[in-house]
């Protein structure tokens, strides 16, 4: 916070000359000047916007390629998973597997004291 003495010095040090605010320029000149600034800036804004669209499009394409790759990998793994699941199902439903299960049960019953 400003010290009171510093504030007083700052106020006293000012040139006490109250002014009126004024217009930025005569009206017609002002219109022409700001029209010119506005047009120049609009062209720059257009270039920036265009560059951003190109950049975003490239990033969208890259992201799509990445998404395609990931999707392909996922599809491949799903297929592999389905094959393995089918093989597993085939094994657990086979006669040999069921017989082995019964033998294990029998052995545990025989060994029980």
């Amino acid at each position: 916070m400003a010290e009171p003495t510093k504030q007083k010095a700052a106020v006293a040090g000012r040139t006490q000359r109250a002014k009126q605010v004024s217009a930025a320029a005569p009206s017609a000149d002002l219109d022409r000047e700001i029209d010119r600034l506005s047009l120049a800036q609009a062209l720059r804004d257009f270039e920036v916007a265009n560059s951003r669209v190109i950049d975003l499009t490239q990033r969208l394409i890259s992201a799509n390629e990445r998404a395609d790759t990931v999707q392909r990998d996922l599809d491949s793994l799903r297929t592999e998973h389905a094959v393995l699941q089918a093989r597993h199902h085939e094994a657990v439903t086979s006669g040999a597997y069921r017989l082995a299960g019964r033998l294990l049960l029998l052995r545990s019953l025989v060994r029980r004291p």
Partner: protein, 390 residues
């Protein structure tokens, strides 16, 4: 900075707002800067309200302030950029970007420039206000109490006496009324038009400036009245129920992932509480010095003093004990009670005795307090009332 008197372009962005813009422009034209040359420029963003632009253009001509209407609507960021570019091309030292729903004190530009000049690393100074996002100086009824040129001048002058050229670092500036030193625009750039019709563009600008090593500051001594959302709500820039534009906030989150935590840290820092408490105290004490103050003893309804009236009333704290609360045009502050001595605490707070003391109701503790004031020479009036509580 250029030789001779420094020049400031005061750019007011306008989009409709027939009920607020004329007052704002009259307030701008009434500014009486002492240390800077100020040109006012109104940037009308192709306001669609029938006849509105013509009225504003005529008013600007009458007030002798500059007026420009864009051929088509640009949105806030690009309209603001016109002001920034005009300041750059016109060789100004400072530019102020202001909304069209504010009333500014007559020395606003001097105060803002003084704060900006206190450190060359300051990239922007946001004025203080009753309505400036998280930095607001709360007021109970700002539209009733502060929407008046004389009062804005008085409040600003009082607060200036407290804070002088103090610049308070804040996470971002708010472009409802913000000063930017013009040469800095060549480093930081303009508002990004990616923010479309507006909101968050000044957040992006501020964070860009900070990343370049500049300070972003609030100027507590530069107080303006701000009605708030005067034109953006009318224009439909804000979705219903929002105070900002969610899509633009997403851009900020993407660009500045730490921003929200920085804001949280600022809020938790208690800097604002100290500022608000100091400002309230200064306003109340200055007002009491100018007009005196009255004490009301009794559980009366919350007083709502008018301009020039300062009242102190008793209110129960969370334990039901009476605490004196001072009020002046919507600003209120609890007076800290020292050693359970309410009378002395009130007098010490204001450094003077009350002009009058009024008791309402039959309670003995209130009459004891009144007698304490009377023993110190204050005039006491007893009024017949009802018991305080059911």
């Amino acid at each position: 900075m250029s030789e001779g008197p420094r020049r400031l372009l005061f750019a007011i962005t306008v989009y409709n707002g027939r009920d607020v813009v004329p007052d704002c422009l009259r307030s701008a034209a009434a500014m009486a800067p002492e240390t800077v040359d100020v040109d006012v420029l109104v940037l009308d963003d192709a306001s669609p309200a029938p006849g509105f632009s013509g009225e504003i253009e005529a008013l600007c001509a009458e007030l002798k302030v500059g007026y420009y209407r864009t051929p088509r609507n640009l949105g806030i960021p690009r309209n603001v950029n016109l002001g920034l570019l005009r300041a750059l091309e016109g060789g100004y030292d400072y530019v102020v970007i202001a909304n069209s729903d504010i009333l500014m004190p007559n020395l606003l530009c001097d105060h803002l420039v003084e704060i900006a000049d206190s450190d060359e690393r300051i990239s922007s100074v946001t004025a203080w206000s009753n309505n400036v996002s998280i930095y607001s100086l709360p007021n109970g009824a700002p539209d009733r109490f502060l929407a008046d040129q004389e009062r804005v001048n008085w409040v600003s002058s009082s607060i200036y006496g407290q804070f002088g050229d103090a610049a308070v670092d804040v996470p971002v500036g708010i472009s409802f009324c913000i000063l930017i030193p013009v040469p800095l625009l060549r480093h930081v750039g303009l508002m990004d038009p990616v923010f479309g019709r507006g909101y968050c563009e000044e957040t992006d600008w501020s964070l860009r400036a900070q990343s370049l090593g500049y300070r972003v500051c609030l100027g507590p001594s530069a107080f303006v009245y701000h009605r708030g959302q005067g034109s953006t709500s009318e224009a439909g820039v804000l979705p219903a129920g929002h105070t900002t534009v969610p899509e633009n906030e997403r851009i900020i989150d993407l660009r500045y992932p730490l921003f929200r935590s920085q804001v949280d840290a600022f809020i938790r820092s208690e800097i604002l509480e100290v500022l608000v408490a100091d400002a309230r105290r200064k306003l109340l004490v200055d007002a009491a010095r100018e007009w005196g103050y009255d004490v009301e003893l009794g559980w009366s309804p919350e007083p709502s003093p008018e301009w020039g009236e300062i009242t102190v009333a008793l209110e129960p704290d969370h334990k039901g004990r009476p605490v004196p609360v001072a009020r002046f045009i919507g600003f209120a502050q609890r007076i800290p009670v020292i050693d359970d001595d309410i009378t002395t605490s009130i007098i010490e707070y204001f450094s003077r005795k009350p002009a009058s003391v009024r008791t309402v109701g039959p309670e003995k503790p209130l009459h004891d307090l009144a007698e304490a004031f009377a023993s110190l020479g204050s005039g006491v009036v007893h009024e017949i009332g009802y018991p305080a509580r059911v």
